[in-house]
Amino acid sequence: MTLRVQGVVRHHAGNAEATLKGLSFELPKGTLAALLGKSGAGKSTMLRCVMGLEPFEEGLIEIDGVVVRGTKEVSGAERAKALAEARTRLGLVFQSFELFPHLTALDNCTLAPVTVKREARGEAERRAKALLEQLGLSERLHVFPAQLSGGQKQRVAIARALAMEPAVLLYDEPTSALDVALRNEVLQALKRVDAAHVTQVVVTHDLAFARELEHVCVLENGRVVQSGPPADVLRAVAERQP
């Protein structure tokens, strides 16, 4: 398993109900999966918990063999160590991309390899160029984010995440800001990512997009209620809705 979420409970202080109520799902290596759910189902919270941007109280998240446990179960120091370890195997493409505006497309992709992995700048640039070219951005290497279109920004964000060679790559609502033509572009980009090594999880409420992927988990009220191939799951979802 490259991504295993088991019994995760996340209760935001001040809320009557927990946002995640024992969330569980598993994805094998190389899956291109959708995590589907309406607003408020807990999608973003799950994403932030996996990324370590938000703590969770109970349960565990396993990423490529690294296990991060809830705050109630292990000490802060132990958690921090596991989180740092897990982050080297994780990538996230933010909904708003969060490209670094003061760095060029190329520098956005080399910053982390150079500062975190201590990779030589020449080597980091060579790999980043290859990734950007693969995503159709060979003409835009030295351009700042402000001068890129929405679709180009997204592809730079994907290249930036891939440059760290993650085992799991998550996308937060990648199609929300895009028109139909661009959605296909994103889909092609996702399919071009090395399927043998990277597990991709697309968090979305876009049914049509989810249908094109390999696996779908449906999140409802803090729990996974359906999981399986898109055709089966989406039929079941359609049947449950009046």
Binding site: M51, G52, L53, A84, R87, T88, L90, G91, L92, F94, S96, E98, L99, F100, P101, H102, L103, L111, A112, T115, V116, K117, H142, V143, F144, P145, A146, Q147, R160, A161, M164
Partner: protein, 497 residues
């Protein structure tokens, strides 16, 4: 170098004995201690010569130390010099904070009004309720207060008091006879009011407990009186009057020629045309201004460096998860931002010695400015950091950057662009605020201007000169800041550069 020349002139044979440091304020003006209007690089005055004569008798080299007149006794108490010698009046309130020598000079208080002003107050009784100018903390001020006058005191110089009388802002001026002689008698638009308005005596002030010093000064004064040095000195400066004759027990009062007073009068006649001053006078003042500007610049640069370093620490503390640390940083900002810089400087310079920490004027000045501006810098950086969206930091963390790396490579550069314009403002403001260090004996640009303007009576022309100096100091930094802003903001250009 003018100062070296002055020191050489004041030096006496005994070079081994420690210098006799005496405190005065050159901005106080003629005829006490002032910059020679003909050669403004030279410190002159009857008290400069008196100090020199005392030094000779004491067998020590007399070295002047300049500070604000109303702070002289505090500076003396702090140990910045051995004696204060600058029209220090014999009064009980002075005796509480310093030892006073036998008086070396006496003079009446003189009331001056505009010539021919029929409405002017001309008796003690008529002074009640009228606007009368004088120096703060002087006997004249106490007399005027006692008479119920509307007292206006001037921190700057005596020239400004008489200027305000001439302009009609004051109805009269009450000051010691030497001042009236040098500032009122030389101008036909003023007249002295006959009558008795009080009498003042001057003494050398020494630190409480310095009885040895006091005895030596008293002995030297007695010798100078006995050998006629004092009388000759007062006569040359045109200050030999009935009061001082009585003080010295001299039988006859008959003033002789007063070459120094004549020299002063010739200097303060009709001012020369502006362009002539630009051509002939101002170039000669440049070394003096350059020295002041150098001190202003060095003080400001060091203070700003301290403010930036401390400001970064404060903002780090303020944003830390440790609540007591964050609260302490916040309290620091509120205290230093919310109290006057001058108060902070005076507390550091005069207050800390009570706790055993005695700082040099320069260190105290840099420290006060740096501590004060650190509060402003911390707020600048906080504003810059908080304006960078949180998503940027999260994106960096998710990529595996540590919190420090995220700050260094992602949040910091974006915040810097926003912090640069207010930092530039602060530095320019600091350049100007550095003039406050003159309160602790440092003669920077503004104090240089004040002393020169008061002795040459050229406030407007020299004002332009000093303004140009400040601009020359500040403008390069403004240009540098614009360059830095462009550098940090290059990604905002519409087309790739």
């Amino acid at each position: 170098m003018p100062l070296t020349a002055l020191l050489a002139a004041l030096a006496v044979a005994n070079a081994d004995a420690p210098a006799w440091r005496w405190g005065a304020d050159a901005q106080g003006g003629a005829p006490y201690v002032f910059l020679d209007p003909f050669e403004p690089n030279r410190l002159v005055g009857f008290e400069v010569e008196l100090a020199q004569a005392l030094g000779t008798k004491l067998g020590r080299r007399a070295v002047p130390v300049l500070g604000p007149w109303d702070k002289l006794l505090e500076l003396l108490g702090r140990g910045d010099f051995d004696a204060a010698l600058n029209g220090i009046e014999v009064a009980d309130e002075k005796r509480r904070v310093a030892l006073l020598s036998t008086p070396y000079f006496a003079a009446p208080e003189v009331l001056t009004v505009r010539r021919g002003d029929t409405a002017a107050p001309r008796t003690k009784e008529a002074l009640a309720g009228r606007a009368v100018g004088t120096l703060p903390g002087s006997l004249a001020e106490r007399i005027l207060t006692g008479l119920g006058a509307d007292v206006k005191t001037y921190e700057g110089g005596q020239d400004e008091i008489y200027a305000d009388l001439k302009l009609g802002r004051l109805d009269a001026v009450l000051l010691d006879a030497p001042v009236a002689r040098y500032y009122a008698d030389v101008d036909p638009s003023f007249e002295r009011v006959p009558g008795d308005f009080g009498h003042v005596q001057y003494a050398v002030a020494l630190r409480l407990g310095d009885d040895t010093g006091l005895a030596a000064v008293n002995q030297a004064l007695a010798q100078l009186q006995a050998d006629g040095t004092l009388r000759a000195l007062f006569e040359r400066w045109g200050l030999w009057n009935e009061d001082v004759a009585a003080l010295e027990g001299a039988a006859n009062f008959r003033p002789g020629p007063a070459p120094e007073w004549e020299r002063w009068r010739s200097a303060v006649g009709a001012p020369r045309p502006f362009f002539e001053r630009v051509r002939d006078v101002y170039p000669g003042l440049m070394p003096l201004f350059a020295k002041g500007a150098g001190l202003t610049l060095v003080t400001s640069l060091l203070s700003m460096a301290l403010a930036i370093a401390l400001g970064l620490l404060l903002v780090a503390a303020r944003r830390s998860n440790r609540t007591p640390l964050a609260l302490a940083a916040r309290a620091y900002v509120e205290v230093f931002r919310g109290t006057p810089l001058l108060v902070q400087l005076l507390v550091i310079y005069f207050g800390l010695p009570e706790l055993g920490l005695k700082l040099s004027p320069f260190v105290a000045g840099v420290l006060a400015l740096g501590l004060n501006y650190a509060a402003a810098e911390a707020e600048n950086y906080r504003a810059g950091l908080e304006s960078v969206p949180d998503g940027q930091r999260e994106a960096a963390l998710v990529l595996g950057l540590s919190r420090w790396q995220a700050l260094r490579h992602v949040v910091g550069p974006q915040a810097a662009r926003l912090a640069i314009p207010p930092m530039t403002n602060d530095f320019i403001a600091l350049l100007k605020d550095s003039s406050l260090v003159s309160a602790v004996t440092l003669t920077e640009l503004t104090k240089t201007y004040g002393s020169l303007a008061n002795s040459t009576r050229d406030h407007l022309g020299l004002g332009l000169v000093v303004a140009l100096w400040y601009l020359a100091l500040g403008l390069p930094f403004a240009a540098l800041a614009r360059g830095a802003e462009r550098y940090f903001g290059r990604h905002l250009a519409k087309e790739p550069s």
